[in-house]
């Protein structure tokens, strides 16, 4: 993973890692785990990344991608979940995640159509990269045929991305903007009351981004809202490796999130798992 600290890093506590920052960047490394980490400043963020036990055992790349940037009173994030049945879901997940993160940081127009344009632009580079991947000469014929068929269809990933702006000297009210395709989880609380239903029943497994076609299964879903001042919000996003969180409405202690990430009760994670929580 990559991290950068602009101002200060506070402490690494026992059992959890905590940093106090004004500017912060994290990008998951798909070849390793990230224990639950907490940063605090204008936003309090907790994040963690883990690969499926099978991938850890075989030293394979995870198919999730998670990135977060906090810059003063603005926070951007991306969570992508590569589609295992597509060709090299880890590649789509990384390319899409990096592309969206860059777009969030440089874009000024946060609309469904501008996002859709970006998602189409990203296919050009992604298609080149996916096509350039080659198979080992030792790949059995039947597997080779299937993988080549998948490669022609492209690499796919589901995603959630967002931008949160706090009220500032320039903005009387803050703003949240979220976009997604797929069934990764996004949950939102306002003053301890879950208001996820505002996002609608719009999380569908068949919707995703393809390195070949851009958005498939439908257009990106977008949610945008002004934020009340002096009211506490909590946003949680996680991939389907952490479905145990679905039933948990109250804040989950760090230790408990780490227990879910370790998944010792099942001999490790059954699927890749990414977790991000932003509180402001």
């Amino acid at each position: 993973m990559k991290r950068s600290y602009a101002r200060s890093i506070a402490s690494l506590g026992i059992g959890r890692r905590e940093a106090q920052v004004a500017s912060y960047y994290y990008e998951s490394k798909q070849t390793g785990e990230e224990p639950l980490t907490r940063i605090t400043d204008s936003f309090t963020c907790r994040y963690a990344y883990g690969r499926a036990a099978e991938s850890v055992m075989l030293s394979e790349r995870g198919q999730d991608y998670l990135a977060l940037r906090v810059n003063e009173d603005v926070c951007h994030f991306v969570l992508c979940d590569g589609v295992g049945l597509s060709y090299r879901g880890d590649v789509a997940s990384r390319l899409l995640g990096q592309g969206l993160m860059n777009w969030l940081e440089t874009n000024e127009e946060f609309t469904s159509s501008s996002l859709e344009r970006r998602l189409m632009e990203l296919t050009h580079e992604a298609e080149r990269e996916v096509n350039a991947l080659s198979l080992s000469s030792e790949t059995p014929q039947l597997l080779r045929e299937v993988l080549e068929e998948k490669q022609r269809k492209g690499s796919e990933a589901m995603y959630i991305c967002g931008r949160i702006e706090l009220p500032s000297g320039f903005r009387r009210k803050g703003r949240i903007w979220l976009a997604w395709q797929g069934d990764s989880r996004v949950r939102l609380w306002r003053q301890h009351k879950e208001i996820t239903s505002l996002l609608g029943d719009r999380f569908h497994t068949a919707e995703r981004w393809s390195s070949r076609q851009g958005p498939i299964g439908g257009s990106p879903h977008v949610f945008s809202s002004k934020l009340e001042s002096d009211i506490g919000y909590r946003l949680q996003v996680y991939s389907d490796g952490l479905l145990d969180l679905d039933s948990m409405k109250d804040p989950v202690p760090d230790e408990q999130v780490q227990v879910l990430m370790n998944a010792r009760h099942t001999g490790g994670l059954e699927d890749d798992a990414s977790f991000l929580e932003i509180i402001w």
């Binding site: 991938s55 198919q63 090299r88 198979l135 059995p140 039947l142 597997l143 068949a206 059954e270």
Partner: protein, 254 residues
């Protein structure tokens, strides 16, 4: 008829699905269907199902053994074509399925008995796995003992995911009162569908209800089977035979 249970556990390397194919290789399998021998249509459909399993088992460039398979061909005897249960990765490494050569009779009871033995040995170690499935393909009346009591014993075996599923593909021109003109629009055989043939009615009693999770997989592949349809296919054309074998591999995967 047994109730449909969850059938939601995904086939994975840690929790692989077990599919046992029982393939009738009696002499009548030499008869023609769409200008090809029935046995060749079946071989092609089974090969396609194996390819589908490979498709659903890749992660990165690797084939994960999400499926375990046994293929029992039967005539007057039972022939274990893979010499036991093999992982989909092992089958892909071999490259092609063993030949299916028609012989004489059609003693399906012997094949179901052997499947029952396999299940008795495997099920204790499959408590976290998807419910196993027995896919039986035949083109005629069984010679030998009645297979139904054995099939019903198999259907009463279970793992937490659900009872063992039994599917029947019956290659026959005289099964349905109305021919299936558009396989992709076909709603399937429902519990109240009347069948023309006595043997078909017996096979219907030996067929599980299609789990909703399997049905969703088939809907994604553009087949429109109704909720509550049975796992029984009339093999009146090669496409229906192929749907039957695809159904057998429709275990949920991510």
């Amino acid at each position: 008829m047994l109730l449909t249970m969850n059938y939601t556990i995904q086939a994975s390397q840690r929790t692989p699905a077990l599919i046992i194919y029982l393939i009738d290789i009696s002499a009548s399998m030499n008869m023609l269907m769409e200008n090809r021998r029935r046995i060749d249509v079946v071989y092609e459909a089974l090969s396609l199902a194996i390819r589908q399993m490979v498709f659903r088992s890749t992660k990165g460039n690797r084939l994960t053994p999400r499926y375990r398979i046994a293929i029992l061909a039967y005539s007057d005897d039972v022939y274990d074509l893979l010499n036991g249960i093999k992982g989909i990765d092992e089958i892909a490494a071999i490259g092609s399925l063993p030949d299916l050569t028609p012989k004489r009779f059609s003693d399906s009871a012997k094949a179901f008995l052997q499947a029952e033995k396999i299940l008795q040995s495997e099920i204790p170690n499959m408590q976290d796995c998807p419910a196993p499935l027995v896919c039986h393909m035949t083109d005629g009346v069984a010679t030998g003992d009645d297979p139904e009591p054995i099939a019903r014993r198999i259907m009463s075996m279970s793992v937490p995911d659900g009872n063992v599923l039994v599917e029947n593909i019956f290659i026959s021109d005289h099964l349905m009162s109305q021919p299936v003109s558009e396989p992709r629009r076909w709603k399937g055989i429902l519990p109240d569908t009347s069948l023309e043939d006595e043997h078909a009615r017996k096979l219907k009693m030996m067929s599980s209800v299609l789990p909703e999770s399997y049905r969703e997989m088939l809907v994604e592949a553009d087949y429109q089977l109704s909720p509550g349809a049975l796992m029984m296919l009339p093999g009146t054309c090669s496409e229906l035979v192929s749907i039957g074998f695809q159904m057998s591999a429709a275990t949920p995967v991510r």
